[in-house]
Structures are given as C-alpha cells and as structure tokens.
C-alpha cells in the first residue's frame, strides 16, 4: 500500500520538477498577491483581517486547479486506464496525488506566510503549527474538490470553468467581502456550510490567537468535506468504462 502510494507521489513530484515555470508560479504568485493586498490597505487596519484569509485561499485555489487539470490529463492520456489495469488501488492513486500536492502546498504556505509576516507586517498571534495544519487541510480540500471536478469535465476548457463555478461562490460567501453575519439570511446559512468559509474562519482564529472549540469544529467541517469529495472522486475512477 505504502510503496505504491509513495511511488505515485514521487512520480507526480518528478513531473512538477520538470516544469520550473509552474513551480515558480505556485511559489511566488501567492506572495505577490498578498503583497498587493497589503499595499492596497496600507493606511487601514483591513489587512490584519483579510491577510489570514488570503493565506487560507491560495493553497485551496492553486491545488484545486493543479489537481483538476493533472487528473484530467491522466484520464485523457490513457495513463489512468493503464494504471487501473495494473495492481494499483484507487486509494493509492488518490493518496499519492494528495501527498505530493500537500507537500507543495506546505512549501507554498511557508513562503506566503513568511512574506505576509516579515514583509507585509501581518501579525500571527496563534501557533504556527496550527497555521500549517489548517493550510494543509485547505490544500487537501482543493485537491479533493479538484479530483471530483476532473471527473465531470471532458476537456481542459471545461475543467478550468469549474474554478469560477465552484471556487468563486465560496470566496464570495466566505465573509471576506462582507462578514457572513451581515449577509442576507439565506446566503449566510449557505456560507456557513461551505468549506472555504470554515478554512478562512479557522485560519483567522489562528492568526488572531483566538482558537477555541469553534476552530476545532471548523477543521472538522473541512475534514468532512474532504472525505465526501474524495469518496465521490474515487467513485469516478472506474476500472471498467464504456
């Protein structure tokens, strides 16, 4: 079990390694955007509120995109069909991907958080370990939703459209633009169930040093979404197809 999962993770990392431009984009773009936001809000206290949300947002969005396109490529190139005719369990395939991309997400978060703290002056009062745990969960959430999205897309054009369809509504309802308790009640209750809301809540709690049982519940909600998305995603990996 472990051997094939690790082989798959190693293979995915090798593929990324051969693509230095993608590595550069994944590692640098989040910091640049955090820097831009910090600059926009230079003379206001807003960055202290929005900054942590951004740290939660990037691993989620980037991993969603990367996973959905990578698994779509596996489906279209025939490599997935070949792998599933070999003694590779679906779980080994999925966890191999999850492991590789979570590692990248952790490096990405490390760079983005360092930049936010030391260059942009963001204050993180809570535990760094918890911050990375939440960021890694966000990355896993993006990976699992991306895996699911790839099953419902036939082309790269379609899969990229899933990003505005699945990610932007979550961003709008997460409380970054307007705090959730000020939203119309229907939107507020939808927002309360979406995983990105909890990702942002948890990360804001850690940044403000106000972690409590609500933070734990938020992390559990994220884990539940990951489990459901991985389950749906694995059901779409079929050994036999029409």
């Amino acid at each position: 079990m472990m051997r094939r999962t690790l082989a798959t993770a190693g293979r995915v990392l090798n593929q990324v390694r051969h693509d230095p431009r993608t590595i550069a984009l994944m590692l640098v773009v989040p910091s640049l955007l955090i820097g831009l936001i910090a600059w926009i809000f230079t003379d206001t206290p807003a960055f202290q509120r929005i900054g942590p949300s951004m740290i939660a947002l990037f691993p989620f969005v980037v991993m969603f995109l990367v996973t959905s396109i990578a698994t779509l490529r596996e489906r279209r190139s025939g490599t997935l069909e070949r792998l599933l005719s070999l003694p590779l369990a679906k779980g080994e395939f999925i966890f191999g991907y999850a492991l590789a991309f979570t590692l990248i997400a952790i490096v990405q978060t490390l760079i983005a958080t360092s930049f936010a703290i030391w260059v942009c002056g963001l204050e993180i009062s809570g535990s760094f370990w918890l911050l990375f745990a939440v960021a890694a969960l966000d990355a896993l959430l993006g990976i699992s939703l991306g895996l699911m999205a790839s099953a419902f897309a036939r082309t790269e054009f379609q899969v990229v459209q899933f990003m505005p369809a699945l990610v932007i509504p979550q961003f709008l309802l997460a409380g970054i633009i307007l705090p959730r308790d000020q939203l119309p009640s229907v939107l507020e209750s939808i927002g309360d169930w979406l995983p990105l809301s909890h990702a942002i809540d948890a990360l804001s709690d850690v940044a403000a040093g106000t972690t409590d049982s609500a933070t734990g519940i938020s992390m559990l909600v994220i884990v539940a979404w990951i489990a459901v998305a991985l389950l749906v995603g694995s059901l779409t990996l079929r050994r036999r197809t029409a």
Binding site: A7, N14, Q15, T79, E81, R82, L86, P87, L88, R239
Partner: protein, 263 residues
C-alpha cells in the same frame, strides 16, 4: 478446449450508446503465436482488446483469460497492455516513466533496464518523453507493457506511424516474444502486417470475418496481396445470405477446422 488456450471469448457483445460495437464474437486464441487482430478503423479492434484486458464494460457474453474472467484482480500482473495512444507521461524521462510503472508492479531496477534494452531505448533513457519521436514514444509504452514478463501481452496498434525499418524491428521483437510461449495479440489496420502474424483475426463492423493463417488467407481468396485478400473476403461476406443473421458468422468454425487440419 486444449490447455494452450489463453484467451477464450464467447458470444461477446458490446454496445456503446445505441450502436453495437462488437456483435456476438466467439473465438479462442492460443499461446506461443503472434495473433494479429486486423480490420479497418472503427471495426471494434480497440474495444475487443479492452474487453480482453477487462477495461471495457461488456453488454453480454464472456471473456476468459488464462482460465479467469477478464479483469480479475489476479490477472493484473499477468496481462501487459499497450493502449492505442502511447499512455506515458510526457513530462517524465523514459527511465522515470518505466520506473514508476515498475514500482507499481513491485519490480526491480534490473527489470527496468531489461525492458529498456529490449525496446532499444538505452540511448534515450534520460530524455523527456515529450522530446522523443512518435516511434520512440510508442516504444516507451511498449516497454511498460512488457514489464514483469506478463503471460498475455495486448498491443493496440503498436506500429502505427513508424517507419518501415522500425516496424520490421518491432515485428522481429514480437516474434521473439511469441516464441517464449506468451500469448501475444497485436492489432493493426495495415493489412500488409497480417503477413507477419502466425494467425489472423479479421474484424469488420464488430463481427469476425475470419480466423485463419496468412497462408490460408491468400490461398482462400486467391489474392496477390493482403489488402486484396481482405477486400475479397468482404465481398464474399456481404453476398453470404447468412451474414445478416444475429449469430456469429457461420464460417468461423470452418476456419478453425482449417487451422487444425494444417497442423
């Protein structure tokens, strides 16, 4: 049924949407021969090969491979499969591609080296697949199919787009593989390649037109080249009053008998 039967197909039908891709095929294949699956594009070759590998949802009938139902878990190490598109990772080197699949199968570096040598890829081993020619890409895909000495090797159009020299090299390799006693099925839409096979399975519009040796093909049709022989067979097939019957073509057992006689 004798013991060297490696693939046994009974009344296999596959429907995709409303169209019948494979129409009640029945045949069996023996190990130790190159079996050529020939037919024009769209005749159902890939679907038939996918059914043997166990990747295809079949509508009815049965496919038995080495005595087990196609796609059984225990067959996953015994069947090497090369899909029609070279199913390899463009952004990995030749060696990284083969090593990954070897790791999935739990095989050593020696085995990776063996298939790299066997498919003549030693010089390209550290190059990215995206930088290779079409023929080299195909050979990477073939190398992966040969990992772990599978008892059944299914190759879907392995020679498509190759130059004549490489094509001849590959057929020599196939002959060596078949002589080791494995069951080798190679599909092609190039009729000339039929002559390199020990046995030919001719497929057209989801039905088996004939199962016979290249010699019998030429003798029966009186044609001077395989292309002509195939056209002759189609002509005689369409004038056959039985041809629109729902069952498999009645001519198949006769060909089988002919194969037995020729031994």
């Amino acid at each position: 049924m004798n013991k060297s039967v490696c693939i046994d197909v009974q009344d296999l039908s596959v429907k995709r949407g409303k169209s019948l891709v494979l129409d009640q095929l029945s045949f069996h294949l023996e190990a130790g021969k190159i079996i050529g699956l020939l037919g024009p594009s769209g005749s159902g070759k890939s679907t038939l090969l996918r059914s043997i590998v166990g990747n295809q949802i079949i509508t009815s009938g049965s496919v038995t491979v080495l005595g087990q139902s196609a796609g059984s878990k225990s067959l996953r190490r015994k069947v090497g499969y090369m899909t029609q598109a070279a199913s390899v990772y463009d952004d990995l080197t030749v060696r990284q591609n083969i090593t990954y699949f070897a790791n999935i199968l739990g095989l050593s570096t020696d085995e990776v080296n063996r298939v790299i040598q066997g498919t003549d890829l030693a010089e390209q081993a550290s190059r990215l697949v995206i930088d290779l020619s079409g023929g080299q890409r195909n050979r990477v895909s073939l190398a992966i199919a040969l990992l772990g000495n599978p008892e059944i090797v299914i190759l879907d159009e392995p020679t498509v787009g190759l130059d004549p020299v490489l094509r001849a090299d590959l057929w020599d390799l196939f002959a060596r593989l078949a002589s080791t006693g494995i069951c080798l099925v190679v599909s092609s839409h190039v009729m000339d390649e039929a002559m390199r096979c020990d046995q030919i399975l001719l497929l057209r519009e989801g039905k088996i037109l004939a199962q016979l040796s290249p010699f019998e093909l030429m003798q029966r049709t009186g044609a001077t080249d395989p292309e002509g022989a195939f056209l002759n067979l189609i002509d005689s097939g369409t004038t056959d009053p039985q041809s629109d019957a729902p069952s498999a073509p009645v001519s198949v057992p006769r060909h089988r008998a002919a194969v037995e006689e020729s031994k």
